[in-house]
């Protein structure tokens, strides 16, 4: 048994179980974090009653979810209604398996477990699964998370839920494309699909990809917001229009699973951004945070750094949520199809061009390319007229129908 735990298989199993447990705790405290940040933004106190600083609040919330009556409304498609939160949660959970949390671990430095091993005899990868198609797997899994939303919204047999599901579906389809393309920019630069190698390369060279492709990083961050259904892209659950959106009919633990899924995908997407663009577990000038440092303590330090970076990004998510108003749906679609997709396509083509000339690792060349794409986008945007959408479009149509000037219709 002891020996089994220090094989990669056993270690991966332990790690999988650990990750699974940690997600749930992390998510609970993410919600606390979110409420505190909301309070900070709005100049309030936030949760401060349960325990010191309100730290026991998430546990109270969790207990509430568990002990509430697990009610299934009579008008729903029961099987799908129950299945949907499960799918949501599972799909958001399996994305974690591929994330590299701390490079390599020398099993001999493990207390007790590794005492019988020679230093360097067995190296373990601090990652549940190491796939040679790592990024593709992550993309695949993330694209599946829409099923929970869609099936939940559909099976609720409720117009609000249904609209939420429709919106989520269209949004997810649209934002997956720029997300995939910007990830491909990193793949072209790094020449591998393995997340752990991408992180290690950045640590080895000391150059984070964000220094090469800041525009791609920004696009990926925006699409990550959209993929996680976060404000300003949370149209699937816009309270003012759709009550609760796709989870209007849900309560108790099933609602809790949706919640868990949403926050878990937030953690996954920000971890993805960290690994691809922000150097993973690497920080300059700390000897514990290099490829060579493989002791258990170095690994723990790396995991802490990684978690810290993820926490910072999540803070930005929340900051954005409490600062920016929500998009209108047509704006959301336009942003994806008319700005992000062309820009990321341009970046992708440019990255391929750089690779052809062998300049894909050159910071100056990459930055120049990013600047050119951005300038091109700005030039195109400034040439075009402001699009006529929403209520304006109706007014224009009305004016045309009645053959009167637009100003008259407006009044």
């Amino acid at each position: 048994m002891k020996d089994f735990l220090v094989t990669q298989f056993g270690f991966s199993l332990v790690l999988a179980a650990l990750v699974f447990a940690v997600i749930q705790g992390a998510v609970a405290y993410c919600i606390y974090y979110e409420r505190k940040i909301a309070a900070w933004t709005q100049d309030r106190y936030g949760p401060n009653r349960a325990g010191p600083l309100g730290l026991l609040q998430p546990i109270a919330d969790g207990l509430k979810f568990v002990f509430k009556e697990d009610y299934i409304p009579g008008h729903v498609d029961k099987i799908l209604f129950v299945l949907a939160p499960g799918i949501m949660f599972v799909v958001c959970g399996i994305g974690f398996l591929i994330l590299p949390w701390g490079g390599q671990l020398d099993a001999s430095t493990l207390p007790w477990l590794g005492s019988h091993l020679q230093p360097g005899e067995r190296m373990l990868s601090v990652q549940v699964v190491s796939l040679n198609v790592g990024i593709l797997y992550l993309l695949a899994v993330m694209s599946m998370s829409v099923y929970g939303v869609v099936l939940g919204g559909w099976s609720s047999n409720n117009k609000y839920s249904f609209y939420g599901a429709m919106r989520a579906c269209a949004q997810m389809l649209a934002y997956e494309i720029p997300m995939g393309l910007t990830i491909l920019v990193v793949v072209l630069t790094m020449g591998t699909l393995r997340l752990e190698e991408i992180a290690a390369e950045q640590a080895a060279s000391g150059v984070w990809n964000v220094a090469r492709h800041p525009l791609a990083a920004l696009i990926l961050f925006i699409t990550a917001l959209a993929e996680a259904n976060r404000a300003p892209f949370d149209l699937a659950e816009a309270e003012q229009e759709l009550v609760g959106g796709y989870h209007t009919e849900y309560g108790a633990l099933k609602f809790g699973l949706f919640f868990l899924g949403e926050y878990a995908s937030m953690i996954t997407t920000s971890a993805l951004v960290v690994v691809l663009f922000l150097g993973g577990w690497h920080v300059w000038g700390v000897s514990a945070l290099t490829m060579e440092a493989t002791s258990i303590w170095a690994v723990l330090a790396k995991m802490t750094v990684m978690a810290g970076k993820v926490a910072i990004l999540i803070f930005v998510y929340m900051w954005v949520r409490w600062s920016l108003p929500r998009f209108r749906f047509d704006q959301l679609m336009r942003l994806a199809w008319k700005s992000l997709v062309p820009m990321s396509l341009g970046l992708f083509a440019a990255a391929a061009g750089l690779l052809y000339f062998g300049l894909h690792r050159s910071i100056a060349a990459c930055l120049a390319v990013n600047a050119v794409v951005l300038a091109g986008a700005v030039a195109v945007a400034s040439r075009g007229r402001t699009p006529i959408t929403g209520r304006q479009a109706n007014l224009v149509r009305q004016a045309a129908r009645n053959d009167v000037p637009l100003a008259e219709v407006r009044t």
């Binding site: 498609d77 990868s125 099923y147």
Partner: protein
């Protein structure tokens, strides 16, 4: 209850991937994995092959389109796991991205746009059912009798390796022409779809 379903699915989905990487003995990272033995793969194969077949039957016998799509979700997912077990990780991931993440979502989207309520049911006529059943049984008998006797020859390769690079290279050398034709084809489909979906001019 959802939680148990979730945990179960989580475990079974993760494990085949693990099993694969052991077989591939840590290509690229220098990590040597211990192989737990063939029984694990066998169990995985039967579990997921069974899932695929049962889900496929589910697709056929469901009467609601969204339920069919849900069954299809499981069928396609299980097939992707089978690819993982075969160490064809690239195909497995592409299966998920293209079919589960793309085609099926579009299908559900289309159903949702056109159908009014979850209670709309397909009611095929008895005659249709009988004919379809006959065709299916005929195909099953015919295919299985041939497949059981078929000589597939020796496997082309028994050593799992990095498939992504090889596929990429083949795609841009050996299969360049079909690759380009596929691009043209997709463009045509897009032009056609855009035209058919476009609103009538007022």
């Amino acid at each position: 209850m959802s939680l148990q379903v979730g945990i179960l699915w989580l475990c079974v989905t993760a494990l085949p991937a693990l099993a694969h990487e052991e077989a591939a003995s840590g290509v690229g990272t220098g990590v040597v994995y211990a192989v737990p033995g063939g029984w694990f793969e066998a169990v995985m194969f039967y579990v997921f092959a069974g899932t695929a077949v049962l889900s496929a039957i589910g697709v056929c016998v469901s009467r609601s389109v969204v339920r069919m799509a849900t069954w299809l979700f499981f069928a396609l997912g299980a097939i992707s796991v089978l690819y993982f077990l075969l160490a064809a990780t690239f195909i497995a991931a592409i299966q998920l991205i293209v079919y589960v993440g793309g085609v099926l979502i579009l299908l559900i989207f289309g159903v949702m746009l056109t159908s009014q309520s979850p209670w709309v049911r397909f009611t095929p006529s008895r005659l249709n059912l009988a004919v379809a059943g006959l065709i299916c049984v005929g195909l099953l008998v015919c295919l299985s009798s041939i497949l059981l006797e078929a000589d597939f020859g020796a496997p082309l390769s028994t050593t799992p390796g990095v498939t992504v690079e090889a596929i990429g290279r083949r795609m841009l050398t050996h299969y360049l022409v079909p690759f380009e034709i596929a691009g043209v084809l997709l463009m045509i489909v897009m032009v056609g779809a855009a035209h058919l979906a476009r609103q009538e001019k007022q």
